[in-house]
């Protein structure tokens, strides 16, 4: 085991090269709906239990199924109302289980990125070959069902190994959502040396973290989103920032939470200098326009 992940260098949040998003936007805003499939009775992983109760673990399983049966269409309609294309963190087995959802998202030109096969199959304990097989399976599944090879990765249930990002970069990916160290995209060091970056995907704004872990009240969650936006928008004047709301169709789409979420989306999209975009578009734009300058700046700051 390592003392640090050694995936990136220290890069202070001051005197950075100035980033401007397309059309002079100060903030790149993206929404990442996690569309997941949790199994009723997954095989046991010795490192992490899928469910607290012996199968059938109804509370956990049923609310997640609710997300796909009921919540997805609600969230999709809401994002559409505010001109937001989702960047889907996809349990790729869902392509087989619920192709209707895939079709609806394809019709809307949403982005699909890999979130593993099932959210009840963890990376823990996989050999490097097994993990590669799982990642390649997920990439091929998305490409087969959507015609487009995914660019991004969020490890299933945020379960990682030491080589997770190496493997995804080697498979041709260009960005990861697994790191929470910054409010701007940053280069990530992988063993192949490919241009590979982290796109900010906020755990603090993640509805499951807010609702299920931190037990936040819905209207407070809405206020947290607005406050998060206000500060990143203001700082984006100095150099462009990224704001992400990671969602789950079983959290934010419940009837008692829709109002607070809608108010937050209305607020954010009501600002002029916001680039409403997708994870992939942020990654591509950053790599094309700022990757080299940022890399040089990071190198320079190591020498002080």
């Amino acid at each position: 085991m390592k003392e640090t992940p050694a995936l990136y260098d220290y890069w202070p949040y001051q005197n950075r090269p100035k980033i401007r998003w397309p059309n002079g936007a100060k903030l790149a805003f993206w929404v990442a709906p996690n569309i997941e499939f949790y199994e009723l009775n997954p095989p046991l992983n010795p490192h992490r239990k899928a469910w607290p109760q012996p199968s059938p673990a109804l509370p956990g399983y049923t609310i997640r199924d609710y997300g796909n049966r009921v919540g997805h269409a609600r969230q999709m309609n809401l994002l559409e109302k505010y001109g937001i294309r989702g960047s889907i963190s996809l349990s790729t087995a869902l392509c087989d289980h619920h192709p209707e959802i895939i079709e609806l998202c394809k019709e809307r030109n949403w982005e699909f990125f890999s979130h593993g096969i099932y959210n009840t199959r963890y990376t823990y304990g996989l050999s490097e070959d097994q993990e590669r097989e799982m990642i390649l399976d997920s990439i091929a599944t998305i490409e087969r069902h959507t015609g487009i090879k995914p660019a991004g990765y969020l490890a299933p249930a945020l379960s990682h190994s030491e080589v997770t990002l190496d493997l995804f970069a080697e498979a041709g990916g260009s960005y990861t959502c697994d790191l929470f160290h910054d409010d701007q995209p940053t280069p990530v060091r992988t063993r192949s040396g490919a241009k590979f970056i982290s796109v900010p995907y906020s755990l603090e704004m993640n509805d499951t973290i807010a609702y299920a872990v931190n037990k936040v009240e819905p209207r407070r969650y809405g206020q947290m989103i607005k406050d998060n936006f206000d500060r990143l928008y203001e700082e984006g004047d100095t150099s462009g920032t990224v704001m992400c709301i990671p969602t789950h169709n079983y959290q934010v789409s419940c009837p008692h939470r829709m109002k607070a979420f809608e108010e937050a989306l209305e607020y954010i999209t009501g600002h002029s200098d916001v680039w409403v975009t997708t994870g992939r578009e942020i990654a591509d734009y950053f790599i094309d326009h700022y990757y080299d300058a940022v890399t040089a700046d990071i190198v320079a700051k190591q020498e002080i």
């Binding site: 009723l40 009775n41 509370p59 009921v70 087989d96 289980h97």
Partner: protein, 308 residues
């Protein structure tokens, strides 16, 4: 040591669900329904009347809301008992004031122990469902099927004897089940159950002993979940129910009738500092146009009458 290769095999990776209990279907694809008198939102107020034994065994886990202190845990026993002595009568007054028609989910042991309370409920003519034997008689994965079969037979049989009614609906204590619970319920004359909270509308659930209806009793909107699990404020409870009511009414304009299911516990909302919050919720919801307060059984009958 890598994981067994089975860990990367996916035997249920196929169209639909990863089990055969029900069909996969998106709510937005289903035929719209309408409630009697062109109402758009059915209000299902479900009151859990529970008995938490002092000598809790906690098998396979201590039930949420149960005893947490060394025996005898008088603090939690009496706090829960408070609901059945005091809180419930505050509830009944509130229901009458706002003309709400509740549905009661009773632990059979409570009905046995408190004939006065059972009589009060019976006299009102409201629907009574079975909520299992008591809050320490759980149904769980790995439970011996004969033991569970006896438990269900006894819970239902005794409640049917005490009430003289046929008892159509079921809610498992802690909403916990074994893999056999649905079959055992169907075999014992249950028509609908509310343990699977994966929809906002009723749907058909397969068992080897025939079909059940799954009724959507939201866990997320339950008083105990919001106040005790999430530790939200009483004000936030009211906001969340009112926001849900607004949203479902709005959705019903384009997608047909919806159900607002409120699962309540008199030991929780029946406290003096909380009862007003329940009254505010009932006042708000019942004053909206298009709201139909009905029992779970009546909502299901209306729904079934509109299915092809």
């Amino acid at each position: 040591m890598p994981l067994d290769s089975e860990y990367l095999q996916y035997p249920h990776r196929r169209y639909g669900m990863d089990h055969d209990r029900y069909d996969w279907s998106m709510l937005s694809d289903r035929n719209p329904v309408s409630w009697p008198n062109n109402n758009r939102l059915a209000l299902w107020v479900n009151v859990c009347l529970q008995f938490f034994p002092l000598d809790q065994k906690g098998k396979p886990f201590p039930v949420p809301g149960g005893m947490t202190m060394p025996y005898p845990d008088l603090r939690h026993f009496t706090l829960r008992d408070y609901g059945n002595r005091v809180g419930i009568y505050r509830f009944l007054q509130a229901f009458d004031k706002y003309k709400v028609k509740p549905t009661f989910a009773l632990n059979t042991r409570l009905a046995e122990n408190n004939p006065y309370l059972l009589h009060s409920i019976m006299e009102r003519g409201d629907e009574i469902n079975c909520h299992g034997l008591h809050m320490d008689a759980l149904h769980y994965g790995g439970q011996d099927i004969n033991e569970e079969s006896e438990l269900i037979k006894r819970s239902l049989g005794r409640l049917r004897d005490l009430t003289g009614r046929d008892i159509r609906g079921w809610l498992s204590p802690a909403r916990n089940e074994s893999a056999n619970t649905p079959e055992l319920l169907a075999a014992n004359g249950i028509d609908y159950f509310s343990d699977w909270c994966n929809d906002d509308m009723p749907y058909q659930f397969r068992t080897d002993k025939g079909l059940l209806w799954a009724m959507p009793l939201s866990n997320e909107l339950e008083d105990r979940f919001i106040l005790m699990e999430n530790l939200h404020s009483e004000e936030a409870y009211v906001e969340q129910i009112c926001d849900a009511c607004d949203f479902l009414l709005q959705e019903s304009e384009t997608q047909g009738g919806r159900i607002l299911a409120l699962n309540l516990h008199p030991w929780m909302l029946g406290q003096p500092h909380r009862i007003k919050k329940l009254e505010q919720v009932l006042e708000y919801v019942t004053s909206q146009e298009g709201v139909w307060s009905a029992s779970a059984g009546d909502i299901l009958s209306s729904f079934c009458g509109q299915q092809p």
